[in-house]
Amino acid sequence: MAYNPDKPMEDRITDIGPPHFEQFYPQVIKDNKGKWLYHEMIQPGVMVHVSESGAECYTVRVGAARLISIELIREMCDIADAHADGCMRFTTRNNLEYMLDSKDKVQPLLDDLASRGNKFPVGGTGACISNCVHTQGWIHCHTPATDASGVVKACMDELFDYFTTMTLPAKVKLALACCLNMCGAVHCSDIAILGVHRKPPMIDHDAISGLCELPLAIASCPLGAVKPAKATNAAGEEIKSVQVNADRCMFCGNCYTMCPAMPLADPDGDGIAILVGGKVSNTRSNPTFSKMVIPFLPNTPPRWPETVDAIKNIVEVYAKDANQYERIGEWCERIGWEMFFEKTGIPFTIKSIDDYRLAYDTWRTTTNFKFTSHVK
């Protein structure tokens, strides 16, 4: 029985939700759920969880591109069948995890994975750089200011040793979002790669009439830069349209989201901003937002060398300078942001000074500062 276009509503099934998770649990998880006592990393990418019952669950974590084919998924299934009773899961950072009920099964799995070229790198645990959370970019979205998968591949290639080792001061969480919508929720990452536009939207007077509700387009701008205006379209008709006050635009793209006739993407205008020092966990210090330290780097496919170098530099300086168990943001707070710029050699620009809402709270209202080369 299959879908019948003539009777679309015939025995239609809806609202059944996702499959229940439990059916996919490996036996050792079923048996020990809620009984776990502690965990330990055996080696990068491999950890054991030990249950009150004495049972052990060995987890092998495998890096994945996130943008993956069903062929690759099938291969993942083959591996699961061969080593893990067909069970597996994906992490919140898009890594693949196999869970084994005995230590003996670990090495064979590792060997198998290793035998398959660079498709299944093991790592991403502990004081490492795990997988880079990211979004669609040029592969699927309409508003990106940069690509996602390409940039991430370029970065992870360069940072690969940090994925397979656990020698950083603490976890470093990398994320990319290809526009200010920040689908990657990069706004609280140790290092955030953010696609940014830098040119105000164009107005397509030939298309706007059918396409956009002008009041919504006008209301969409947080800075009131979009105003009603008359214009003449290709057909020579005078139409109701909008205009943009470029001086007030900060390129958030919200108008384009609301009105397809206001594209702002541009080969030279678009690029990448780097934000650092965010964290999500409540561990030690409170969750914090990432701060913009590099306002713009150009889009340079296929390997975005400027972006890769900038990130590598930050990671290396942090690795050398921070205390152990100290996240990047905690390190910056301790040494002071002036020292972050001093030590990384990243030029401080006026773009890093907040001038949006709540900005005053970010100004330095004390005489407590350190003398760096910035102070003439």
């Binding site: 759920k33 693949l96 937002f289």
Partner: protein, 424 residues
Amino acid sequence: MPKHDTPLLDELESGPWPSFVTDIKRQAEQSPECWDILGQLELSFVDKITHWKHGGIVGVFGYGGGIVGRYSDKPKEFPGVAHFHTVRLNQPSSKFYNSAKLRAICDLWEKYGSGMTNMHGSTGDLVLLGTTTANLEPLFYDLTHDLNQDLGGSGSNLRTPACCLGTARCEYSCYDTASLCHHLTMHYQDEIHRPAFPYKFKFKMSGCPNDCVASIARSDFSVIGTWRDDIRINQAEVAKYISGENKPNGGAKTDATAFDMEKDVLALCPTGCMRMKGDELQIDNKNCTRCMHCLNMMPKACRPGLVKGASILCGAKAPILDGAQMATLTIPFIEINPDNDYEEIIEVIESIWDWWMEVGKNRERVGETIQRVGLPTFIKVLGLDPIPQHVKIPRENPYVFWTSEEVPGGFDRDVREFRAKHAQ
């Protein structure tokens, strides 16, 4: 064989990290439209700009979400991706699968789509990337009938809930995140599939304050496990950390210097509520904020208490439009009770929705609504007592609102009476 030259993309086939380019090429052997994915992406690499049109509204009958429409702006050059819609499958909680299920999904997607996926989307869905409008209904039919599973959310509705591993494989978890996540997902199928909200609304659940699903940063309704009694300390294991027998931080740092209780734990405890009395570790629990650091550093020695529950935080979101918001602590401690189908949680959710659906503006996230009306109003709406836990600090400005009822004599006064006493 390749349909387009992709010299730039080809450069991404080298390097140690798995190459999505190699992967797409491999898939292309089966699903030729993948050549056009590569072709159009190569063009974007050359042009440094996307070649997708502004999304179009497509979907399956009766649902307002689950599909994201997408069309190429170069359909002639790349007919295989002229339509390239996304299908969001609601993932199983904590993203556990078995090979049978994944193979079934692969077969389904081989039949109806490009063969490319995102495992997983940022919200948590299993994302199938690229199909045509014509394929949507048949795909949905097979999905519900043969795979018996369903789509996830998109649009102004409840988005696909997501959670961390929780008790399934984590010793820190203070409640069963997967069960709560699944229950709410099932309970709110209608809200997921049929947009009725001012804007999107997201649930995320983490089992402890480490917050491995980043709920505090990106969910309108964040449920984070915690406990309200004392941290369980195993002094014997404490000794083993000090002696070096146990690896600090669960061995998460291979080059960690020899464990130093003072430096690595006590000094990093944000509240300074820990101390060593001889070789006994003591925690002044009433001053502990359950930040997890000592548990993280000594998983064998420190465990959450036994009176477990969760904190509820509301209103996290990305920066568009007024700047990003972290979720705000709304209910410091709530019981997580499967036996009454999480009644307490449901109650909170629905009082938030009832209010937000009434006062929320179009495309206004609940966090933005809270900002607009003020936290005090939100607290009143939920019928909560205002408590210091709601704030980092009490207000610094003196601009307090009072109502006529609160002030003796009320607001109405006769200025002439006043003038009688006070010459102008």
